[in-house]
């Protein structure tokens, strides 16, 4: 029997060469930004594509890689599964470009469907890459192996995608995921569904200095309430309404010095809407300059409106918070000192959380997505013992 701990990449595709392609593109990205991207989005993408990070994805995400094929002794060859169908959500963000980069490293063909009601960032990113790459494996791959399309939900192409693909990756609602899963698909294929998830910050109010609040603003502002890894609320463990109010006011006071771009008019309008809905629900609201964000303070059992740039701040004991965590909780970003160990132990044993990471790492993409080893789904493992 082969040694399952020794993985070797198929020589049909050079993931490291492709990673170098992304890295060379990154150096062009530093000098030029497509207008479709906001500055924070482009900066996040550049940071994600740092040489050390992409290579680390291959070395650690794929498994303990030993060497390239051929290699002596028993091993497990990682072979791309074929075609990956990728359904992107309507509120597409960097998710399309990030997923494209990660899946590309596996050598699988990609058919990506952009949201039919969205302005998607995947297409401008591919166009930017094709324009600025001078040649090589990545350019060939993007030209020949990646298809990006936008069509309506009712299009027969939906079923055609599912029928062709060995892996279905879907981002969206539970209902839409079920519809995709119900489409006829190869019996050997598998589905990876990323449905509605929520995340939150747990903090010791004493540790929320300006640096921590600056991090909170950066982590929150990029997606607002729309990101599954974005804080949907801040919970002050063992805090109280006074501390929550103080945190909300300090975040608002700092906001425009951290996010210096003015909000889009519609974003500001929706923040105003959020503040009114929150007040009607019983929250007390602090509003950042230019309606860039709303901080809503209220007790933990109060349901907050889901408005993009509205961040509820509440307080709770650790025990009560664990008891009331939503079923679809994904990430807890922590700003906890010595109490962090106790919180970690308790939440791991009594909740279904998928990630417990420092606040600054809430949006970090790694090989584990929603508790699943993402890359395992993208390879067939060939057992070899010569």
């Amino acid at each position: 029997m082969s040694d399952q701990r020794r993985f070797v990449l198929s020589d049909a595709f050079d993931s490291f060469e492709l990673a170098r392609g992304w890295e060379s593109l990154r150096s062009r990205m530093i000098r030029q930004q497509p207008e479709e991207f906001s500055r924070p989005e482009w900066a996040y993408l550049i940071s994600f594509m740092a040489p050390s990070r992409i290579e680390a994805v291959i070395r650690h995400g794929f498994g303990p890689l030993e060497a390239s094929y051929p290699v002596e002794g028993p091993f497990c060859l990682l072979r791309p599964r074929g075609e990956v169908a990728l359904w992107l959500p309507n509120n597409v963000s960097l998710l399309g470009p990030l997923t494209l980069i990660l899946v590309s490293l596996t050598g699988n063909r990609i058919t990506a469907k952009g949201g039919s009601r969205s302005e998607d960032l995947t297409r401008p990113f591919i166009e930017f890459a094709l324009e600025h790459l001078e040649g090589g494996l990545l350019k060939d791959y993007l030209t020949e192996q990646v298809r990006y399309e936008v069509f309506e939900h009712s299009s027969p192409e939906m079923a055609a995608m599912a029928k062709r693909a060995e892996v279905r990756i879907f981002f969206g609602s539970d209902e839409a995921a079920a519809e995709i899963e119900n489409l006829p698909h190869p019996i050997s294929s598998s589905g990876v569904y990323f449905t509605d998830r929520t995340s939150e910050v747990w903090a010791d109010a004493d540790l929320l200095d300006d640096e921590a609040l600056t991090t909170l603003i950066k982590v929150f502002a990029i997606y607002g309430q729309a990101g599954c890894t974005s804080p949907h609320r801040v919970v002050l463990l063992d805090g109280d309404v006074g501390r929550a109010q103080e945190v909300a006011e300090r975040v608002c006071a700092l906001f425009s010095s951290v996010i210096t771009e003015n909000p889009h008019s519609h974003t500001a309008s929706q923040s105003f809407l959020g503040s009114q809905l929150a007040k009607a629900a019983g929250f007390s609201c602090s509003i950042a300059p230019n309606h860039a964000a709303v901080l809503a303070v209220g007790p933990p059992n109060l349901a907050a409106p889901r408005v993009s740039q509205l961040l509820p701040v509440t307080w709770s004991s650790l025990e009560e918070r664990i008891e009331s965590l939503p079923e679809n909780i994904q990430t807890i970003g922590h700003v906890l000192g010595e109490s962090g160990d106790r919180a970690l132990h308790a939440v791991l044993s009594r909740s279904s959380i998928k990630r417990f990471v420092p606040l600054s790492r809430m949006h970090d993409f790694g090989p584990i997505w929603d508790g699943r080893a993402f890359f395992e789904e993208l390879f067939e493992r060939v057992e070899v013992d010569q």
């Binding site: 906001s38 989005e41 959500p89 309507n90 509120n91 597409v92 963000s93 960097l94 998710l95 949201g115 969205s118 302005e119 960032l121 981002f171 969206g172 609602s173 839409a176 990323f194 449905t195 509605d196 998830r197 990029i222 997606y223 607002g224 309430q225 729309a226 990101g227 599954c228 890894t229 974005s230 003015n262 909000p263 889009h264 008019s265 519609h266 974003t267 500001a268 309008s269 929706q270 105003f272 809407l273 009114q276 809905l277 007040k279 009607a280 019983g282 230019n290 309606h291 409106p305 889901r306 993009s308």
Partner: protein
């Protein structure tokens, strides 16, 4: 009751009276609607119309607001059309309905004359049959009822603009020199403007003076690259001389007050209403430069929709209008462009 409703809609304004009525309405809703009280709790004193607290238009999509008051008669809920899948719900109490009916009657009369004539509604009679609710389309059509001698619902299927009852329409046209036709803009275009009229209808309409009235915006028409000139020409060319097309702006969250487009391209504000344009970021009131439109009226008692911040953009034009109407006027610039919500899974 609004004293201002006794005046001509586009006559001299008495903004002191309007401000007093808006202030009274604000206090009325503050006393009778808990959600409004919570939202407007930190509002300052009202010294001018710009100080009147306003609700974001989408609050009515999320909350069913009602203001309790003595003698209140419970009414139906008016539902907006919902391109986003979510309806606004506006409570129609008897007192407000009476005022709103009087308001639209006076506005339409000033534009179309007071003569009664048959009203052809581009909708189906089945749209009337919703228990406890009334759609924006039907409400808009019925606001012309005071000018109608008779009513004809012209569609068999409310969702199918091609299901026109041409024989019934022909009969109305043959028996009358003048008719009113109301439809949502895109329905009027699809079912009538770009349709091939049956020969007998074409013959009849050539002898009939038609006042086409439409509302509901141009979004779907823009998708078909239909501009206003083409729209009006398609409607007017088959009809008898002196036929007209009237486009008005209105929203269910301001039911009873409509803003017709004048021949000079401006929307006019009746004396019992007002408009403020605000910077989206700071909410500073603007004159002469574009911003978000806030609409106010002194007719809304059953729920606090007397002052609403829309997500439409406009610009207030100072000075008198070339059309001769006095009072406030503005240009409607369309919807506030939507910011893409840039997140991941929760679509």
């Amino acid at each position: 009751m609004s004293k201002l409703l006794a005046r001509e809609p586009y006559g001299p304004r008495d903004d002191d009276v309007l401000l007093a009525e808006l202030t009274h309405l604000t206090e009325h809703h503050d006393g009778g609607c808990a959600e409004y009280r919570a939202i407007a709790a930190d509002a300052g004193p009202i010294r001018s119309v710009e100080d009147v607290p306003f609700l974001h238009v989408e609050v009515f999509k999320e909350l069913r607001l009602e203001t309790s008051f003595e003698g209140q008669e419970s009414g139906r809920f008016l539902l907006s059309s919902a391109t986003s899948g979510r309806h606004s719900q506006i409570r129609l109490d008897d007192k407000s309905s009476q005022l709103q009916s009087e308001s639209t009657k006076k506005i339409f009369s000033s534009l179309l004359g007071e003569k009664q004539r048959p009203l052809i509604v581009l909708d189906s009679v089945t749209s009337l049959r919703q228990r406890g609710k009334i759609s924006a389309r039907i409400a808009a059509a019925l606001s012309l009822r005071p000018l109608a001698s008779d009513l004809l619902f012209a569609l068999d299927d409310p969702e199918d603009p091609s299901s026109m009852r041409w024989e019934a329409i022909e009969a109305v046209l043959e028996q009358n020199d003048e008719v009113l036709v109301y439809g949502f803009s895109w329905i009027l275009w699809t079912s009538w403007g770009k349709a091939e009229l049956p020969n007998r209808v074409a013959d009849a309409i050539a002898q009939t003076r038609v006042s086409f009235v439409h509302s509901g915006g141009w979004k779907k028409l823009e998708a078909e690259a239909v501009d206003r000139d083409r729209f009006d020409e398609a409607l007017l060319s088959p009809a008898a001389p002196l036929s007209t097309v009237l486009d008005y702006y209105g929203l269910v969250e301001q039911v009873g007050v409509i803003y017709p487009l004048c021949e000079s391209g401006y929307r006019h504000v009746p004396v019992w209403a007002d408009v403020v344009v605000r910077d989206s970021l700071t909410h500073q009131a603007l004159v002469g430069s574009p911003g978000q439109i806030q609409l106010l009226n002194s007719l809304a008692w059953g729920a606090p929709y007397h002052s609403v911040l829309t997500e439409d953009q406009g610009v207030i034009e100072p000075g008198p209008c070339p059309c001769g109407r006095s009072g406030r006027r503005f240009q409607l610039l369309g919807r506030l462009p939507r910011a893409e919500v840039r997140g991941c899974a929760n679509v």
